[in-house]
Symmetry: C2
Subunit: 221 residues, 2 copies
DNA sequence: CAACTAATCAATAGACTAATTGAACAGGGT
DNA sequence: ACCCTGTTCAATTAGTCTATTGATTAGTTG
């Protein structure tokens, strides 16, 4: 039947969207973009590729409808085309993490001995913030991502600046650090550095995108 | 930093799972498998490929952890490795459908003038079944999929047999037909044939997997 | 045990695809 | 005009992907 051709074409189109995510670099880009829009040059820096190459990857994502752009002056800002795109990435990593032992192993390599310490759940942190509990929330992401949205009351200290800005932190409050998500190393590193310096510190489960997706308050101030 | 290599390896691993879905034929396989386990030969028939080729595609899915197998006698039955795999396919098609105009166009080509008639919502059908409302639920999928699980009280009439089995249907009850999901043509065709024959017929929104994922009762009797 | 069935494997042809780089180009800002 | 940021192009290199064929393994049946 002619149906076969039509059906194939339709499912190939779905495959196109999957193909856009069939590259580690493009997934990294989506992971960063889940934290807010960024211009190409910044994205290139984040994933460690040339601007030209990053631009190519972004075109692939755009043609698959996963990201859109906004021109501001001379720069072009990319962002996820819809919240479902983050959802797609979230489900993808869930499936991969639960099905591929390899992911577990590589995550441990990259993030360090994972979960040596239980992370703080979103629910718990939300409750403590609501109750005015004494806790310092630390945003370990780059300043631009903090500016695009962050946890209420969070202090922005990009991971690279943490060591020389330790003095800014009060020693008597527990620190809860967060970053881009479960596969971002910033918060892990921050916690390690803080504990080494004698602070009481823990990591938040997930990152800002997960916090926002859970419907919790995001501050833009 | 050495971090880059570790990070790349980790995200490449996520990409592996996406790559498994980066083929229209493999997505078709997942779509069928969401309706219950099937042996290789049956799957080959469904997607219109040779058994050997189908087996190859299934290996790709298995290595990505999306499906698992069970040997029964001489045949090997494949099934989705976890409910999240269906969820992944569901989100993927949602993203693709809302972002790619092309999908809309191709879906119309394959399924025919889509939604000439509003489909019955799951909620509405569930209520009518609960209330003992007069409705005939018709399962247009192959008998094997019906056997693997179906809507409560549904009558199994595979689309290919419908025309010569019209006499079995009572003329005084509305017929609600369903199949594998929103991109399966069986229910569309069934409704067209039924209406042509003078029946009052509508399509259920989504198919069995969506019904099950919504937590509604699935009968195996 | 031989014959048979279902599925997988191995090898391969052929056709594409993908990632990347550097240079040229375009749009907007100063 | 000239600079900046991105995009596009052309070219290179290195695969990858699909589908096919024929051989092979695992399990069943007479």
């Amino acid at each position: 039947m002619a149906d076969r051709a039509a059906k194939s074409a339709l499912f190939d189109e779905f495959a196109r969207a999957a193909k856009a995510l069939a590259s580690g670099r493009r997934i990294e880009l989506v992971d960063v973009l889940a934290n807010g829009e960024r211009p190409v040059e910044a994205l290139a820096g984040e994933v460690g590729l040339s601007v030209a190459n990053t631009s190519q990857h972004l075109q692939v994502l755009r043609q698959a409808g996963l990201v859109t752009t906004r021109r501001q002056g001379t720069s072009v800002h990319y962002r996820l085309a819809a919240p479902e795109v983050f959802e797609l990435w979230r489900v993808l990593r869930t499936v991969a993490a639960s099905r591929l032992a390899e992911v577990e192993r590589l995550a441990a390599t990259y993030l360090g001995a994972r979960d040596e310490l239980e992370p703080v759940t979103r629910q718990e942190l939300a409750r403590r913030l609501r109750d005015g509990d004494s806790v310092l929330v630390l945003d370990a992401r780059p300043a631009a991502e903090h500016a695009a949205g962050h946890l209420p009351g969070a202090v922005s200290i990009p991971i690279g600046e943490l060591r020389r800005r330790l003095a800014e932190l009060p020693g008597d409050r527990e620190v809860v650090a967060y970053c881009r998500g479960p596969y971002c190393a910033f918060a892990h590193k921050a916690v390690a550095e803080l504990r080494e310096a004698g602070f009481q510190a823990r990591r938040l489960e997930g990152g800002l995108p997960e916090w926002a997706a859970a419907g919790l308050a995001v501050s833009h101030a």
